[in-house]
């Protein structure tokens, strides 16, 4: 079976794709921190951030519609937590509505908090989508490893990445087998069957983990994995990281001046 969901578009070729993973990870996380720490009323700065990140996405040739879909994915959380904030925050009233007997007051401070979380969630998801859709996952891990993320964490992550597709395939095969044998199952039966599928998937995964470990031992595994390393930090990376960071500092300064 084919799986395209994990690092879709990372196979494209563009200036952004060719950068060293470390450059992208560090600069885009700095970007995220800049966005998160900007006070909510600096509307011009958010507009400028949007222009910068939009420009980078344009450079990377990742389709906008894909980024937009990723942004929409945070909406459920925004609705559950955010939507009632403008109505319950106390302060100067911006507008009052009555629905039957219920009186709703919208306050300025509430609206600002709502704007704050929406715009920040929106812009940071754009940053992270750019990061993951321009870097293939193994390179991404390589980058994290060189940024002093503990090796044990990287190794577990790379194992997970390798076996993720195997597990999903196995689960989908079981589901197809079940679906082709049951027509309109009763709910309780359905839940029980699905749970048994998960149980057997767990046992298979566990046994696979053990046999992978034995196979690794017989090939001389001693707790660390060595791989070829062909990424390098070149002048393009230096220009990108210094350039983007100074643009961010300049944007930030517009608020202070």
């Amino acid at each position: 079976m084919e799986h395209l969901f994990i690092d879709q578009y990372s196979g494209l070729d563009s200036i952004i794709h060719r950068l060293d993973p470390r450059t992208k990870i560090v600069t885009l996380i700095i970007f995220v921190i800049f966005i998160v720490l900007t006070p909510p009323t600096y509307f011009l700065q958010f507009l400028l951030y949007f222009v910068v990140i939009g420009g980078l996405i344009l450079l990377s040739k990742v389709p906008f519609i894909f980024v937009f879909r990723r942004v929409l994915a945070v909406m459920p959380f925004v609705i559950v937590i955010g939507l009632f904030i403008p109505f319950i925050k106390e302060g100067e009233i911006a507008g009052a509505y009555s629905l039957g007997n219920i009186k709703l007051n919208v306050t300025y401070s509430g609206l600002i908090i709502f704007w704050n979380i929406c715009i920040k969630a929106f812009l940071t998801v754009m940053c992270l989508t750019l990061l993951t859709s321009t870097t293939s996952f193994p390179f991404f891990l390589k980058g994290l490893e060189k940024l002093w993320v503990p090796g044990i964490f990287i190794m577990v992550l790379s194992f997970m990445y390798r076996y993720l597709f195997v597990s999903i395939d196995e689960l989908m095969r079981m589901k197809h087998a079940k679906d082709s044998r049951t027509i309109k199952p009763k709910r309780l039966f359905e839940i029980k069957t699905l749970a048994n599928m998960l149980g057997s998937l767990f046992i298979r995964s566990y046994e696979r983990g053990e046999s992978v470990y034995l196979a690794m031992c017989s090939r001389g595994f001693n707790g660390s994995i060595k791989t070829l390393d062909n990424s390098s930090f070149g002048y393009k990376d230096a220009i990108f990281s210094v350039g983007l960071t100074s643009i961010l500092v300049l944007i930030r300064l517009t608020g202070i001046l």
């Binding site: 009632f84 704050n116 979380i117 839940i191």
Partner: protein
């Protein structure tokens, strides 16, 4: 329950990062003592299992469906430390690959779901299964711990949002807790069914079963 970037202020996400890095470091140290280098392939493959399991939708009341979160399931099978590491790994992947939860808030998400939800859930499960004999104790413990872990994680999430000044506690806490009390029922049912399947087929895989 995956908090996106921008929902937490720096006075919350920085301490949450420190807490969860400390907690995970402790888990890795403890798990390595028990599993040695076997830890790495085993955690990786089981994390892939939890990830795949979250993609399977179960029919719930009406036409809605829910999926397993797996926090307590992971600790029942792998123990408190291994289970917490697996859940943290899944959260990292969800954040980095699917933008499900933010980068600055990742620390808080790991704290809520991995440290509180999974590791905390294990201690509750362990207390219950020691009081009740046999497999019934394991199943009842799993059910209660699974339900409470979901509710507790959502309550911590509400407290963090309140500390950040995003939403006041008296609104966020009941709203989050009520929604997750319902989600928790599904979680408890699925976890119990999966654990009972493992008990029937390979009961040696239940963590520390011989201790009883």
């Amino acid at each position: 329950m995956h908090i996106p970037d921008g929902f937490l202020a720096a006075n919350t996400w920085i301490p949450a990062w420190i807490l969860s890095i400390g907690g995970l470091g402790f888990c890795i140290k403890k798990a390595q003592e028990a599993l040695k280098e076997k830890l790495i392939p085993l955690m990786g493959v089981v994390a892939a299992f939890i990830f795949a399991a979250q993609m399977l939708n179960f029919p719930v009341a009406g036409a809605t469906s829910g999926h397993l979160l797996g926090g307590v399931l992971a600790v029942v099978l792998l123990g408190p430390y291994g289970g917490a590491i697996v859940i943290a790994i899944v959260l990292v992947i969800q954040c980095l690959v699917f933008q499900d939860g933010g980068v600055t808030t990742l620390g808080a998400n790991i704290f809520n779901m991995s440290i509180i939800g999974s590791m905390g859930g294990y201690y509750l499960y362990n207390v219950i299964r020691k009081r009740i004999d046999g497999d019934r104790g394991i199943l009842i413990g799993t059910a209660i711990a699974a339900w409470l872990s979901v509710v507790a994680a959502s309550a911590f999430c509400a407290v963090e949002l309140a500390i950040s000044g995003t939403s006041p506690l008296h609104i966020a806490l009941p709203a989050m807790a009520l929604v997750h009390m319902l989600i928790g029922i599904g979680e408890a049912i699925i976890s119990v069914l999966v654990v009972s399947f493992v008990l029937k087929t390979r009961s040696d895989l239940i963590y520390n079963k011989e201790e009883l």
